[in-house]
């Protein structure tokens, strides 16, 4: 099987301005943050982002890389709204298509099946149809029913983050929720999969030291959908990546607080984002160490 492993920088080099980019995960959960950070270090812009959004959307908005955002919501989960997203909306900096969550998923399913649209009832009678004038309804050929014809959310590139993958791109999730990462992969021309650990194929389902092995249904994404595999330990930070780690709530709070103040945001960017992924890891670890030593001083 082909070895598709690549560095975050090599991945970022394949992304061009104006592309439509689907981003997996959900809110502040298992977002491909290392891939997003790699994008922030490039000069690509005018992206159309398709995301059940979290800080991935916030960071890309803050960097001025988003022309249009297609979403069901943008939330940090423990913090209801991402401040950069809110600012981008309230300043009119981005175009948007805002859908009901169920409509959004219908759009992902349509794209995965190479359909133009899928019918759904979600959205009917609400202002989602008023505010998105491109949306059309479709009459049932079997009854008097009418449905929203949710257009396919087809993308040029999908970015997803999973717990493990093999070098060929077979991806495995080990947490309680797959989110929609398989649909993003199937609905994109190219999919880049980052993961906590690249392992040989035979290890994906092999028993661990305790004799436990993952079930075959944990193999969420097949290699036929995957263009590149990027090993990125901590690559979902500061979103959750269960069971490897939970959300870094303290860091997320630091992010959200900094996002509300231009000077604080410049300092945040300087410390965490104007550096490679290794620099980001070092800065995050340094922050944790500072917090720990501070705690010790207080306890003395």
């Amino acid at each position: 099987m082909k070895d598709k492993t690549m560095s975050p920088a090599d991945f970022a080099g394949t992304i061009e301005s104006g592309m439509t980019v689907g981003i997996g995960g959900w809110g502040s959960r298992r977002k491909p943050m290392a891939l997003v950070r790699a994008l922030l270090r490039t000069d690509v812009r005018d992206l159309t982002i398709v995301s059940l959004g979290g800080p991935d959307v916030g960071l890309l908005c803050a960097a001025g890389k988003v022309r249009k955002l297609v979403y069901g919501f943008v939330s940090l989960d423990s913090i209801p709204l991402d401040p950069h997203f809110r600012a981008a909306r309230e300043s009119g900096a981005i175009k948007i298509a805002e859908y009901d969550e169920g409509m959004y998923v219908a759009g992902l399913r349509a794209a995965a099946q190479r359909l133009d649209f899928l019918p759904t009832r979600a959205g009917l009678a609400s202002d989602v149809l008023t505010m998105n004038p491109d949306l059309r309804t479709v009459a049932s050929p079997y009854s008097d029913e009418e449905y929203v014809a949710m257009p396919a959310l087809r993308t040029d590139v999908a970015l997803i983050h999973l717990n493990r993958a093999d070098p060929a791109g077979n991806g495995q999730y080990l947490g309680p929720d797959p989110y929609f990462d398989d649909l993003y992969a199937m609905g994109a021309d190219r999919c880049y999969l980052s993961c906590e650990e690249v392992v040989p194929t035979e290890r994906l389902l092999a028993p661990d030291a305790d004799g436990h092995s993952a079930p075959v249904q944990s193999l969420l994404v097949g290699r036929m959908y995957v263009t590149g595999v990027i090993e990125a330990p901590g690559g979902a930070h500061f979103t959750s990546c269960a069971p490897d780690y939970e959300r870094d709530e303290a860091f997320q709070k630091e992010y959200a607080t900094a996002a509300k103040d231009p000077d604080a945001w410049r300092a945040f960017e300087e410390r965490y984002l104007r550096t490679g992924e290794d620099g980001y890891r070092t800065a995050v670890e340094g922050r944790a160490a500072t917090a720990a030593s501070g705690a010790n001083e207080r306890s003395v």
Binding site: F73, E90, D100, R121, A125, D127, D177, Y179
Partner: protein, 253 residues
């Protein structure tokens, strides 16, 4: 006498939680999706603990718990798996009753959680429509408003993210607030004052509502928790008192 003492001892938050539990009466074997906060979540688990034992509830994550779990705890035993993709399928299937939290609601129960002002360039971005359109069109829907005010109960909502009775809502069961219970049991499906919580007057509710409510000649009082319900809330389902964070206890009934 002991029962009466305990019942009048109930806090406003406990009265609200019981009113939320009542929303699920008669629902039977469906998923209670109480996503709007601690009080409705407590209400759904209280209903399952008492008069609606067949309800399905979660532990707040993707697990359907085998029994009603305390707020903030993980399920000891799990009876099913409901990841986001299946939860959204369930909305379309319909075996679900959701309690959402509106930022604005009008007299027909149209609700807004998307944004304030012009949708193209809002003065205040809120959550986005989330699952509101599908929920209200396809599932029984109720609402929880922890702070009843004219800002929330408004003449017109800025964006209809949840459809009301005049737009073909599947069923808007009721709205529970910190002051009252409201429903749509009127000839033209307009909002009606169903009951006021102990210590609240009809005038209080009318003053906090930004449109004309249908007010019956005699407005009953919201029922108090019984002793067993109080015990379950205080000792089993919410011993940390998370309900008091949403409805502070200085508002004792």
């Amino acid at each position: 006498m002991a029962t009466t003492t305990q019942a009048t001892d109930a806090t406003r938050a406990e009265v609200c939680a019981v009113a939320c539990a009542e929303l699920f009466r008669g629902d039977g074997e469906i998923v209670a999706a109480a996503v709007a906060g601690f009080v409705p979540m407590l209400g759904s688990r209280l209903a399952r603990s008492t008069f609606e034992p067949d309800l399905l509830t979660t532990d707040g994550g993707p697990s359907l718990s085998a029994g009603p779990v305390p707020l903030g705890a993980a399920a000891d035993a799990v009876e099913g798996w409901l990841p986001f993709r299946d939860h959204l399928w369930l909305v379309l299937n319909g075996r679900r009753h959701v309690i959402m939290g509106p930022s604005q609601i009008d007299r027909y129960g149209n609700t807004n959680i998307s944004c304030i002002g012009d949708w193209a360039r809002p003065s205040r971005q809120l959550l986005g429509v989330r699952g509101g359109p599908g929920n209200t069109l396809l599932n029984p829907t109720s609402y929880w408003v922890p702070k009843h005010s004219t800002r929330v109960f408004t003449d017109e909502v800025d964006m209809v993210s949840g459809v009301g009775t005049d737009r073909g809502a599947h069923e808007i069961r009721a709205v529970v607030t910190n002051l009252a219970v409201l429903d749509f049991d009127t000839p033209d499906r307009r909002m009606r004052l169903k009951s006021v919580h102990p210590g609240v007057s009809v005038d209080d509710v009318v003053a906090a509502t930004g449109f004309e409510l249908a007010v019956p000649d005699a407005v009953p009082q919201t029922r108090l928790p019984d002793a067993e319900e109080l015990r379950i809330m205080r000792e089993v389902l919410d011993p940390k008192g998370l309900r008091e964070r949403e409805v502070p206890s200085e508002a004792r009934s």
